[in-house]
């Protein structure tokens, strides 16, 4: 083992919203070690009261996102060796969210904005109707498919400067969700949804900085979705639909 006896210096954020500070730890270096492995090692060996979230450890659940060396990342699939800054790694909670404690953020507002963006499917058929046949080759379905793999990790929300500066801004994840539904031909809430994502805090607030697209761990493109919403809202307005 090349890493035997080696350690890495970890600066970890401890505390809550009113009082948080970086604390230094030495953690044994391991091969193929992820940032989540590091946090878990600290909790199990040094700080039993360290608060953080994780569940699946394989990039499915979206609960372990943190700020690693200044950039938002999913920690379970981020290898320490790829993000080390010299011999140091700095781990902080996600930006743009209140800190509950240590690395655990309050995601309530993040998910409330999904509701505000009308991120729920509005059915147009009943259980008595036959199943609607949707070709995966249809343009609208391809647009929707491009955005549906979101795991709600909050990385895009944490990387967005508009979210930081405008409390009402719905954020890339909620708008991306709205865009997938706008493209769902089975959905009946298109115009209401376009109204919900237009105006104060809506898609037009996006400055196309594309931090969301840069950092999305699932390589989704929320900027593209938001641009699609802007265009769809403009066309609907010109047609007098909203």
């Amino acid at each position: 083992m090349a890493n035997k006896g080696k350690t890495i210096k970890v600066l970890l954020s401890r505390g809550d919203n009113s009082n948080s500070a970086l604390k230094e730890y030495e953690v044994p270096a391991k091969e193929s070690q992820t940032v989540l492995d590091v946090v878990t090692w600290i909790q199990r060996n040094l700080e039993p009261d360290l608060s953080y979230r994780f569940a699946c450890r394989v990039g499915m659940c979206g609960s372990c996102a943190m700020t690693v060396n200044g950039k938002p990342r999913w920690t379970c699939r981020t290898h320490v060796s790829k993000v080390m800054d010299g011999d140091t790694i700095t781990i902080e909670p996600l930006r743009n969210m209140p800190i509950i404690k240590d690395l655990a953020c309050d995601l309530n507002e993040f998910f409330e904005k999904w509701t505000k963006a009308k991120g729920h499917f509005v059915p147009t058929k009943t259980r008595d109707d036959s199943v609607q046949i949707i070709s995966p080759k249809e343009k609208s379905r391809r647009e929707a498919n491009a955005g549906i793999e979101c795991i709600n990790c909050g990385v895009c929300y944490a990387s967005c400067d508009v979210v930081e500066n405008d409390a009402s801004y719905l954020g890339p994840a909620a708008l991306n969700r709205a865009w997938t539904l706008v493209n769902d031909v089975r959905d009946g809430g298109r115009i209401e949804r376009l109204k919900a994502v237009t105006g104060d805090g809506g898609c037009q607030s996006c400055h196309s900085q594309q931090g969301c697209t840069t950092y999305c761990p699932n390589t989704l493109n929320p900027t593209r979705s938001i641009a699609g919403l802007k265009k769809a809202a403009a066309i609907a307005t010109l047609k007098g639909e909203m």
């Binding site: 930006r95 931090g211 840069t214 265009k231």
Partner: protein
């Protein structure tokens, strides 16, 4: 200080568009004021134009033309992003906008000197 998460090309394209827009908004009132001198104070305008012949002012004008061009081509990039079908290679488009603006400004400078 530029925060680490902002250290990506399209954030720089954004800030360049913002700063160039603000700089042009500050420049335009002065520009119109000086043009208006032609109506009431032609002597003042002449002395201003004479002053503007200095090399340092010509170089400042190069910067001004760059800001104008980069705001124009950056704005076209943003309009294309929002209203045309999405194209991959957004970083390349931003780089091309800056490159064209630089050549436009350089062409202006070469004519001016």
């Amino acid at each position: 200080m530029i925060k680490t998460h902002r250290n990506q090309p399209l954030w720089y394209a954004y800030i360049l568009h913002r700063v160039s827009g603000i700089a042009l908004a500050l420049f335009l009132p002065a520009h119109f004021y000086i043009l208006s001198l032609a109506l009431n104070e032609p002597e003042s305008l002449d002395s201003m134009l004479h002053w503007a012949e200095q090399p340092i002012v010509k170089f400042a004008e190069f910067g001004l033309v760059f800001l104008l061009a980069v705001h124009l081509f950056g704005g076209l990039r943003l309009l294309a992003l929002e209203f045309l079908p999405w194209k991959p290679g957004q970083k390349t488009f931003a780089a091309v906008a800056v490159a064209i603006a630089f050549f436009v400004a350089l062409a202006f400078l070469l004519r001016a000197i």
